[in-house]
């Protein structure tokens, strides 16, 4: 089996397992996996920007918040069905991200990181300021959606499938985007902006567009989280959320699509394990996990898996030749 074939088989198996899970796991576990999918979408968004395009963002929690609040306000104030609010949240974040990407063009590396960090710092206060819309620090309480069309799924199973569906669509779109011309241009800008320009890539346009697409992904994730948690409040979208996203993409694997899923698993479950191991110092344990992962897998979980899969493919190829 070739490397690419093996990878395709693994992805297919993962999707099949994901479809079976709702019928074997408890509702609480399903809720956790729904969170994992939501994080995975957000992480993929950030990874497109940081991993593929080389622009560091410490402020993606802000786009997550914009997405979440767009959905919450539309449901709460205008009674829009939640399904319609998710693409709207994505589009709005696309525009906001694109607009933020324009001034960000003048900022490189760490300076951009700082500018986006300011965004993350500001968002909770901005949300409290527009109290009439956002409900201030009390937030907005929503209702959990039920399964439509008389499907015999409970709300947790239904939400799980909705999120899984959105995740698959967005992942396929991202894979297509990144494996073609556009993707090569995005990566070329990261690797050598001058060479990219010389090849005819419009750096400014591509960079702002990447910012927009990245924000749109994260915004969709935020919108889904508002539906899944059925509550939004400024305290959710603190600086720590943005940093958690960055941790997720680095642990999962920079510039890797599957890395987003691994990163999401990490940021969802490892803090809980850390708490189970030690009530006294959970964040110290978390730190140890973090260091261990970075030490053992410097290219992230996805990077290490790619190595293993590659070796496996070569091994199986090798034995065939011998036989």
């Amino acid at each position: 089996m070739s490397g690419a074939g093996l990878r395709r088989a693994v992805v297919l198996a993962a999707v099949v397992v994901a479809c079976v899970l709702p019928f074997v796991l408890s509702n609480f576990r399903l809720f956790q996996f729904t969170q994992v999918f939501i994080y995975a979408i957000a992480l993929l968004g950030l990874n497109i920007l940081t991993g593929f395009n080389g622009q560091i963002s410490l402020g993606h929690g802000a786009f997550y918040a914009v997405g979440a609040y767009t959905t919450a306000i539309m449901i709460d104030k205008w009674n829009v069905p939640y399904g319609w609010t998710i693409p709207v949240a994505g589009l709005l974040c696309l525009v906001v991200g694109f607009l933020f990407g324009i001034p960000a063009l003048r900022l490189e590396g760490l300076y951009l990181a700082l500018a986006t960090f300011a965004l993350a710092l500001a968002i909770p206060q901005i949300l409290k300021y527009f109290e009439h819309w956002t409900g201030g620090s009390q937030g907005i309480v929503l209702s959990k959606p039920r399964a439509p069309f008389g499907l015999t799924l409970n709300p947790d199973q239904w939400l799980y499938f909705v999120t899984l569906g959105v995740l698959l669509v967005l992942f396929v779109l991202a894979a297509n985007l990144l494996s073609r011309r556009t993707g090569r241009a995005i990566v070329a800008i990261r690797d050598n902006p001058i060479a990219a320009q010389a090849m005819g890539v419009n750096n400014a346009l591509y960079k702002s567009l990447t910012f927009g697409v990245s924000a749109a992904y994260t915004g969709v994730a935020g919108a889904l989280s508002a539906v899944a948690i059925a509550f939004v409040a400024p305290d959710t979208f603190n600086v720590f959320l943005s940093i958690t996203f960055l941790v997720g993409i680095v642990i999962g694997g920079l510039a890797s699509i599957s890395g987003a899923v691994f990163g999401a698993l990490f940021i969802q479950f490892v803090p809980n394990w850390a708490q189970d191991i030690s009530k006294a110092a959970p964040w110290a344990i978390y730190g140890i996990f973090l260091i261990t992962f970075m030490y053992a897998m410097p290219r992230g979980i996805a990077g290490s898996l790619r190595l293993v899969l590659g070796r496996l493919a070569r091994l199986s190829g090798g034995t065939r030749r011998v036989a």
């Binding site: 408890s26 809720f31 969170q35 009390q138 948690i229 059925a230 409040a233 305290d235 959320l241 708490q275």
Partner: protein, 405 residues
Amino acid sequence: MTRRNIIALALSLGVGLALVARLAVAADMPGVTATEVKIGHTNPYSGNASAYGTIGKAIAAYFKKMNDEGGINGRKINFVTYDDGYSPPKTVEMVRRLIEQDEVAFLFNTLGTPTNSAIHKYMNQMKVPQLFVATGATKWGDPQNFPWTMGWQPTYQAEGHIYAQYVLKNVPNAKIGILYQNDDYGKDYVKGLKDGLGDAAKKLIVMEQTYETSDPTIDSQIVNLKNSGANVFYNVTIPKYAAQAIKKTAEIGWKPLHLLNNVSNSVGAVLKPAGLQNSKDIVSTFYLKDPTDPTWQNDAGYKDWLAFMKKYYPEGDLSDLGNVYGYTVAQGLVQVLKQCGNDLSRENVMKQAASIKGLSLPMLLPGVKVNTGPTDFYPIEQEQLAKFDGERWVLFGEIYDASKK
């Protein structure tokens, strides 16, 4: 017997057994065994609000003490507490873990207004008690719409009520100037005052000023209030701005009756930075015994608390009011469990929590009592006023009851 028959028999047996098991569970009480009652809790042990973490630790320590003494009605308390970092989604996750996986009997003293808001609906849909929540918002006492949720401490509105009663009784020709934070916390306080003043509110309140938490200073608001001719200053601000307000009133020589909200009456965090001399004669409210107040040095309740802290929570800060709070709310729950007797079903826990009559607890101020009823989900509504004498708060006057009009 044919093979098909055997299978049919096995199947029907299985279904029958499952039904019986289900009935047994339904009659049972989740989270309760003959020797144990499992109670769930969330608290910010990490993050921005981690200063509150000590409340959870004090509660856990108190339950350990109860267990060492044999438990309640022969049952030990298994207190399961998780860190939510004050983040509502984490609270939802942890609470679902507590209820669906750990299968606790009920939740107790979950901390924070946004965090409790996030689980409010869920708890009431699941019909699991969300008992004695640790927040001052007013919405927790709504038995009609949320019969499974109950508050604990005096609410912001209740406190506003108390100031209103004091002003109506003691300040003839009052002209009230208000400074409040422009959010639900500030508005709750103002609503309490206005409700307490009743029809007189329009006449007595001469000016309302607001600020945002992003404002660098509130100097101009203080000057405006002074110029309005107010002789009562209702100061609804968080510690940073409270200190600024106290300083500024002294600076410009404005000497109103200064009513300072309970949120900011810490001597160390507010009055010292503002200047103790400037803080003289400010009036505020209290309902717990302040462990740093020498008045209680020989008080039996204080001595018990001190002994408890030394034995069960030696690393806890003896000047932190959070440790008094945790100790007291845990005692409140113990009373509920005692009242429940052997019936620890969720319905009965709620029913007993809503029938506490005139309960005094050792670290509540003398005269402050816990009272609840089927339509009264605000356990503590009494507070006493204290005046700052330039060194410490001195309690004075009667116990005020916010539930009285």
